[in-house]
Symmetry: C2
Subunit: 161 residues, 2 copies
DNA sequence: ACGCCTCGCTTGCAAAACGCAAGTCAGAAG
DNA sequence: CTTCTGACTTGCGTTTTGCAAGCGAGGCGT
């Protein structure tokens, strides 16, 4: 019996089915940092080669990476992020930001994000798409959406304070 | 032999060591939605009870949740997010947003985020903390930070285009 | 021409993690 | 005093992972 997917009508669960396995997000981190070849990924992620093969295939299968031939004779490839893959950088940035705040020692974060356009080291700020104000964790409500299941609809607006 | 942690000087890897296991992010999702009791979490996440116990203990151990007695006789508890736990909502929002865009069917997303302050359904926009402009995936560079290892420092600015 | 190297995997095996069902234990509730 | 509920714990069989070794296609050195 294979390990079941989470099998939930929830965008978080559905996303985790694609990228939630051990090593997958580290692989994506490195691909988005420009580390795109099998051997380099093996070294920088630390994942075993059979696992790396499996994860790369899954990511290609789901349109998050593309396997691109670099040269023929000898055959060499690289794994490039698709548009969808590149959009996962928001997830990685959120993980990095939390880690910077809560797991970094006194020496500070190992890497910083620089906004190319303005040239400054920055942190991603999560703002409301409608009014532009910062979106704090306690200033949002989750409402059932158009694709809600009856259970989600029945739960109504969350969290109930 | 226990499964090794990722053991990397990287905020993403260090964060994933705390919350990267199967079920952990779904548990956090539900706790942040207000589902805070063992039995409810078992039902809404679908995780087996031994796994749920293990994950909750790990989260409490790392200061992401607190185990709060609700009533004595009979003993009942709830798991509440700490400040650090609440900040993980940015990670969950990023996962949800990606899932909404890339895994939702024609019926649309199952849940939507409403910004309480302005009252509108919204999406979190990732903006530059310095200049306020939207932070697109291809408009950032990753530089070595103060806590960089020699290897990270040697890699320099990434990605090299 | 022959061995040796590199890259990108695949295979085999033991160890660890997981899923499920059942059991435990303290305290109501009937 | 039996049953029920919440929050776990235990046992057992399956699945996944980590590690080491091997493979095969194509250079490269001599």
């Amino acid at each position: 019996m294979p390990l079941r997917p989470y099998d939930q009508t929830c965008s978080i669960a559905r996303t985790l089915e694609l990228i939630g396995e051990r090593w997958t997000l580290l692989i994506l981190r490195d691909v988005l940092l420009g580390n795109r070849r099998f051997e380099d990924l093996q070294r920088t992620t630390g994942a075993a080669s059979n696992i790396l093969t499996d994860r790369l295939n899954t990511l290609v299968e789901h349109g998050i990476l593309r396997r691109v031939p670099l040269e023929e004779r000898p055959d060499r490839f690289e794994y490039r992020p698709t548009r969808a893959g590149a959009e996962l950088s928001h997830v990685l940035q959120a993980l990095m930001q939390w880690g910077d705040r809560h797991t970094a020692g006194p020496e500070g974060p190992p890497r910083v994000i620089v906004h190319t356009a303005c040239g400054h080291a920055t942190e991603p700020v999560h703002a409301c798409a409608h009014c532009g104000e910062p979106l704090e964790p306690d200033e949002v409500e989750i409402h059932p959406g158009p694709g809600a299941t009856p259970e989600i609809a029945a739960a109504g607006v969350l969290p109930r304070r």
